[in-house]
Chain length 286, copies 2
């Protein structure tokens, strides 16, 4: 088309724009990007490029640049077939993290109840990035008891009830990333073979809880179960630990019942798979 191949230097003089809206301490491009996200939300979660440019009165090109960045980070996605921008999956991830903040507060009454009924040491743990972290502890009141692991990182997800309970529900890639630290042997019961662990996790999924029979510490048996939210995403887990001397089938069953009751209730509080025993649930229409 354009016969004239003139240089076309772009712009000549930009109107001042006056720093967004008189704000001095905020970064323009970031502010604009966030504005875009808000706008998509206001438009019902999906919007076309020009819609966005109009509503935000940003240059369409600028919008495109900003959206590209938002997409790279998963805050926005392009819906496959159509020419639409939609809110991305990362947003849901983040909302999980939001809820997770008050996980300890919400879990506390359950931890106390389990501690009271079983008499054993009870732990609350969560996933933070690619590590498992202990968030809260209720100590056993028995004379012989499992000593409180200190709060903080759990280095051995493959060998603890917490770790297995949570790993079981993760997408494969995330599970692998968490296990990237390796599967060190701690006792003769430690699972050190990857495919063996995968099989163990399959069973955890089916049963709804994980057992660590002296796989990490000799003489210590733990039972753990995951707390999951609406989308089935793991939020955290609760476990109880008992010394082998008390680890009868009966006692383990008690611990298991208490813990799964608590994680089921907490999952429900977070909108997760409540009454259903395991795997995906699907509500049936009226």
């Amino acid at each position: 088309m354009s016969a004239t191949v003139l240089p076309g230097p772009g712009n000549e003089a930009r109107p001042p724009v006056a720093r967004g809206g008189a704000e001095r301490n905020s970064i323009q491009s970031v502010d604009r990007a966030l504005l875009l996200v808000d706008t998509i939300a206001e438009l019902g979660g999906e919007a076309t490029l020009t819609e966005l440019a109009n509503r935000t009165s940003l240059n369409i090109s600028t919008c495109h640049h900003l959206l590209a960045t938002l997409i790279k980070r998963g805050f926005v996605m392009k819906v496959p077939g159509k020419r639409l921008y939609a809110l991305g999956g990362r947003i849901l991830h983040l909302s999980h993290a939001c809820l997770q903040v008050d996980l300890p507060r919400r879990a506390q009454p359950y931890l106390e109840s389990i501690n009271r009924v079983t008499g054993e040491t009870v732990h609350l743990a969560a996933l933070q990035g690619d590590t498992v972290v202990t968030l809260a502890v209720r100590d056993s009141r028995h004379a012989v008891r499992v000593d409180t692991g200190k709060l903080g990182k759990i280095e051995a997800p493959h060998a603890t009830a917490h770790g297995k309970a949570m790993l079981a529900w993760l997408p494969e890639d995330e599970m692998r990333r968490i296990l990237a630290h390796g599967m060190k042997r701690f006792t003769e019961n430690t699972i050190t073979d990857f495919s063996e662990l995968v099989e163990a996790l399959r069973i955890v999924r089916r049963k709804g809880y994980a057992i660590d029979r002296e796989e990490f510490l000799p003489g210590v048996v733990c039972v753990g179960s995951a707390i999951r939210d609406q989308a089935g995403t793991v939020i955290g887990s609760i476990s109880a630990s008992t010394p082998r001397m008390r680890a009868t089938d009966e006692h383990i069953a008690l611990m298991r019942d208490e813990i799964t009751a608590a994680t089921r209730a907490l999952s429900a509080e977070f909108g997760g798979p409540g009454v259903q025993s395991a795997d995906r649930q699907r509500a049936v229409a009226v």
Copy 2:
């Protein structure tokens, strides 16, 4: 009290930085801001400034600027007492919008069921920004029927079952913003007095559904009920419309039962207040 009032020129030569990580089409500052949000999430929803600066290997000052912007937009908040940055409330708002995207898909079987059982025209609506929007319709199969309102904006939230059903559960400021368009009179039944509407909404909250008795269109009676999620936030609403000639108490009760059953089920799908009849629920510990 700097005795020396020397110019203090700041920096002299910056290391190249090489565009983040070889990405050409993404905006640095935005990318970094989003990285910060991700990082806070990875750190369990709360983090201190220096933690963030270290983990992201950004200059602490830059972090601060970025966080200020994120705070301005509500994506991040400072936790009151402590020196911590936490994920902000906007994130949860956004996640609602995310879920809302597949509201029509999820609602469809319910709409069909209501349509089949009552024989009346059924509508699905949602809040988008500060307007009420119709998302889907199932037409009545009666000869005499309420004609399909076209999809799109509902201009009269104060005079429709949809509008009242949703307004009832909104925080006051948002309700006022939506009503900012005014409370126009359409029929002699239209509620045009604000405090009268507030009282009506109180009843809607208690009963769990709203009725429009010819308040918008003469001869048309509608029943509507809201769909709400985990946090109690309104996601949308379902209504059915009948001509006055069929609007017996019996028929209205049928519509009400069908609709509230559907909105209760959908609310549960979104993690909302399922079985409970109305108002806040609070789960009791084990």
